[in-house]
């Protein structure tokens, strides 16, 4: 199938112009601006850029952002797989509504997500749970916006998963837990890791949902994206660019590792 499609691809009429226009659009909108960020970051020398990243406040923000993102990603792997399992293997009234609900964080504007969480878990909470301006609030906001990633990567794999394998293991005397651990989880692992990588990449750069809920207290609840914003506002573009380059580099490394892993996994 893929051979046929490959041979169908041809250097048709107008390809050159099309590629030129697409490249121009991408360059003006994405590549040139991102290049400018890296360029600005090193404009005072690499040592200066590193000094900007490791200055006390940005460094504290970066470390906290990465730590919270790791925790959020781990929680996502567990809850996301669990939700995917329930959606695929269980059946209950209102399942279709839940299916729709899962995608809501993708469609909902981040500022609305922040406001929504603030109203339930903030100072005016009807549940009397006030976690506003704490690191817990940052974790909650990140859990909200990254919820769909693991669910949506694990769910299709779980649907395709051959249940005969589980049945065979169960017939051979494996307990329910052993079947999950030895048969189901190894099959889901690539999808779980992909979802985790995507969720982590999203979490480290999140701004809108976090900024309302976290209070942005320096050295405590200021995440990297908010720190960059504050540096732009206080007219320190080099510092903002250095921190941005750091975030871009981390995201690139995660995505690259994920790509390599997937290529290895698909080769078997």
């Amino acid at each position: 199938m893929s051979r046929r499609r490959n041979s169908a691809r041809r250097a048709g009429q107008g390809t050159g112009i099309g590629v030129g226009l697409a490249t121009l659009y991408l360059s003006l909108l994405v590549l040139l601006p991102l290049g400018a960020v890296a360029w600005k970051a090193q404009s005072g020398g690499l040592a200066h850029a590193w000094g900007q990243v490791t200055a006390p406040q940005p460094w504290a923000a970066l470390k906290m952002t990465l730590a919270v993102s790791v925790v959020v990603t781990l929680i996502n792997v567990i809850t996301g797989t669990l939700i995917a399992w329930v959606l695929v293997r269980d059946d209950f009234a209102g399942k279709r509504a839940v299916e729709l609900l899962i995608d809501l964080p993708f469609a909902l504007p981040t500022i609305v997500a922040g406001l929504v969480l603030l109203s339930l878990y903030g100072p005016t909470s009807p549940l009397h749970v006030d976690i506003a301006f704490t690191r817990l609030a940052i974790g909650l906001a990140l859990l909200f916006v990254t919820l769909p990633f693991v669910v949506r990567t694990v769910q299709p794999v779980l649907m395709e998963l051959d249940r005969d394998m589980e049945s065979a293991a169960a017939l051979l005397g494996a307990s329910g837990l052993a079947v999950v651990r030895r048969v189901v989880l190894p099959n889901l692992l690539p999808a779980m890791l992909t979802g985790a990588g995507l969720a982590f990449g999203r979490a480290i750069g999140e701004f809108g949902s976090v900024s309302l809920l976290s209070g942005n207290l320096p050295f405590h609840t200021e995440v990297s994206a908010v720190n960059i914003y504050n540096q732009i506002q206080s007219d320190n573009p080099v510092g903002a660019a250095a921190q941005s380059t750091m975030l871009l580099a981390i995201a690139a490394v995660v995505l690259l590792a994920l790509g390599l892993y997937r290529r290895r996994a698909s080769r078997g």
Partner: protein, 280 residues
């Protein structure tokens, strides 16, 4: 035949209590994280009656924010639709050096923090940027005005149309297009009469996703907007503006409007997605 009997045995062995436990945990988590907060948002927005809700939409700031947002989203989605269809055709149908690289580049915007998007655009198109400085000398201001917001919005929603159209285009194959061309149809005619109708659902799906993303963008826009009330304040920025002015009702009203738009987009896209899949 045996394979039909076996799952039945396994199903009997599955403890139902564990199943219920999983269900309760999963649904409970979703309720606390998603459903309850959304319900409370609706309660707070509608709490003071429909009159209060409506009057917060009829203020001049609210109306201009809606207009600004619609203009920005319209422009960004139009740009990305043209680029998206073109790029999808190039990536799927054509061979050229650097095709793989273009394929990777298209996905970059999704991995970039919205704040970094804003900073990146300021550095190039701002007053002190390479392009922006030159434009400024010719009396054109991009950043802190509408065009800058369009750029930021187009940046973040760039991959959505391409990624919706490309897989459907690949599944369809090009036999029909080839046939049309052989029968003497021009490239444009073939595109309009053969390609476009067959990717219509996928295209609308991509456009709806891009529109939802564009209407709701906050981080990238907040950096490049300058927040001039009545001029560059979008709906998401207005929510923040109203909160800072302790005007909760206006903030909740705008938030509930955006949430409804998001749910609408989800419903439409879900329908289109399943229809597009069935056709393939």
């Amino acid at each position: 035949m045996v394979s039909i009997e076996v799952p039945a045995v396994a199903a009997q062995k599955t403890p139902t209590r564990g199943k219920y436990l999983l269900r309760v945990v999963a649904l409970g988590y979703l309720a606390l994280l998603l459903l309850l907060p959304m319900a409370l948002l609706c309660y707070r927005a509608f709490g003071h009656g429909l009159g209060a809700l409506w009057s917060s939409f009829t203020t001049s700031e609210a109306r201009s924010a809606v207009v600004v947002t619609l203009i920005v989203a319209g422009c960004a989605v139009a740009l990305n639709t043209v680029f998206g269809v073109g790029a999808a055709i190039l990536l799927v149908r054509r061979s050229f050096p650097g095709r793989r690289i273009l394929d990777v580049l298209v996905d970059i915007p999704q991995a970039v923090s919205p704040i970094v998007v804003g900073l990146a655009l300021i550095l190039v198109y701002g007053k002190f940027g390479i392009v922006g400085g030159w434009l400024e000398r010719h009396g054109i201001q991009l950043i802190f005005s509408l065009p800058g917001i369009v750029l930021a919005t187009a940046f973040v929603s760039l991959p959505l149309v391409v990624r919706a159209v490309a897989p459907v285009l690949a599944e369809l194959g090009d036999e029909q297009e080839q046939a049309a061309r052989t029968l003497g149809a021009s490239a444009w005619h073939t595109f309009r009469r053969v390609t476009l109708p067959s990717i219509r659902d996928a295209l609308v799906y991509g456009v709806v996703l891009a529109l939802a993303r564009s209407l709701g963008e906050y981080g990238a826009v907040t950096v490049v907007s300058g927040r001039v009330v009545g001029k560059t304040l979008t709906m998401t920025l207005l929510i923040d503006d109203r909160l800072q002015n302790f005007d909760q009702q206006a903030a909740y009203s705008m938030a509930v409007l955006l949430a409804l738009l998001a749910v609408g987009a989800l419903l439409i896209s879900r329908r289109l997605q399943s229809r597009a899949r069935r056709l393939v």
